[in-house]
């Protein structure tokens, strides 16, 4: 993926990194023991003062739609599964939008995996999306969808690496509407 400089406001990053370096050594044993609520009581959550906004000026029947899923989906036998680390694996996997959902698995260990393994559409609705395109209710699906694990403690990496790289790929693919589906 093309690396780009983020255009979003990032003045919070340096302060966050300092606080994260204090937080993580104390939180790590709690995180490894799956005691998330206790660990995140002192996490340096970032708050924002602005809401990014761009009105959708074209009908849905003309959009090129990309989906970002934080369900940790990966292609069995092709992608290495996301690592289960206390810090959070910052990799982003690009999924072809025409992929067979049955070829995917989830590596997200902080969510119930059974529903996704029974039907990936509960987390990323490939089949309903294809129906909407076939019926011309949605213009087209972008070439690539994006998958990562929603469990991330490095908000700075999300802001400076993961999100800008996803955005750059969407620009390449001429995406006009992005749907973010956290878990």
């Amino acid at each position: 993926m093309v690396a780009v400089s983020p255009k979003a406001e990032v003045s919070w990053v340096q302060g966050f990194r300092e606080k994260w370096r204090e937080w993580f050594p104390v939180a790590k044993p709690l995180l490894q023991a799956h005691q998330g609520p206790a660990a995140f009581k002192t996490y340096p959550f970032v708050s924002f003062s602005q809401t990014p906004w761009s009105p959708l000026r074209i009908p849905l029947s003309e959009v090129c739609l990309a989906v970002v899923s934080t369900a940790g989906l990966y292609r069995k036998g092709i992608d290495a599964p996301f690592a289960d680390t206390a810090e959070g694996d910052p990799r982003v996997i690009q999924l072809p939008s025409n992929i067979d959902p049955k070829s995917l698995d989830t590596a997200h260990t902080h969510i119930p995996q059974e529903p996704i393994r029974a039907d990936v559409n509960v987390a990323l609705p490939f089949d309903p999306l294809r129906d909407l395109v076939k019926e011309k209710k949605v213009g087209s699906l972008a070439l690539r969808f994006f998958s990562f694990v929603g469990y991330q403690t490095r908000a700075d990496k999300v802001a400076l690496e993961m999100a800008p790289n996803i955005a750059a790929a969407m620009v390449e693919d001429k995406v006009t509407l992005a749907l973010i589906v956290p878990v």
């Binding site: 799956h34 959550f45 970032v46 708050s47 924002f48 602005q50 809401t51 990014p52 906004w53 761009s54 009105p55 959708l56 009908p59 849905l60 739609l65 369900a71 997200h108 969510i111 119930p112 995996q113 059974e114 529903p115 996704i116 029974a118 039907d119 559409n121 509960v122 987390a123 609705p125 089949d127 309903p128 999306l129 129906d131 909407l132 209710k137 949605v138 509407l177 749907l179 973010i180 589906v181 956290p182 878990v183």
Partner: protein, 80 residues
Amino acid sequence: MMGNVPARVEPVRPPRWVYVRFPRGAMFGEPGNRTKQRRVLEETLEAAKTIQEPGGKVEMPYRWEGKPISFRGREITEGP
């Protein structure tokens, strides 16, 4: 954007978001329930048009109709 925990979504300040009352990991409803998945998806995409102000939210009326999901000793039908 979609979310099932308003307290976690709102501080992020998404441009527009849809509040779904489903368990974590299953934002589009029960496995195999294609009708519901389609409905949630279609209404979520419609919200991209109907939400006219930054940070606007639409709340979905749908509820989990399957067995509660077991996760780390808890039975979940909504949220985390």
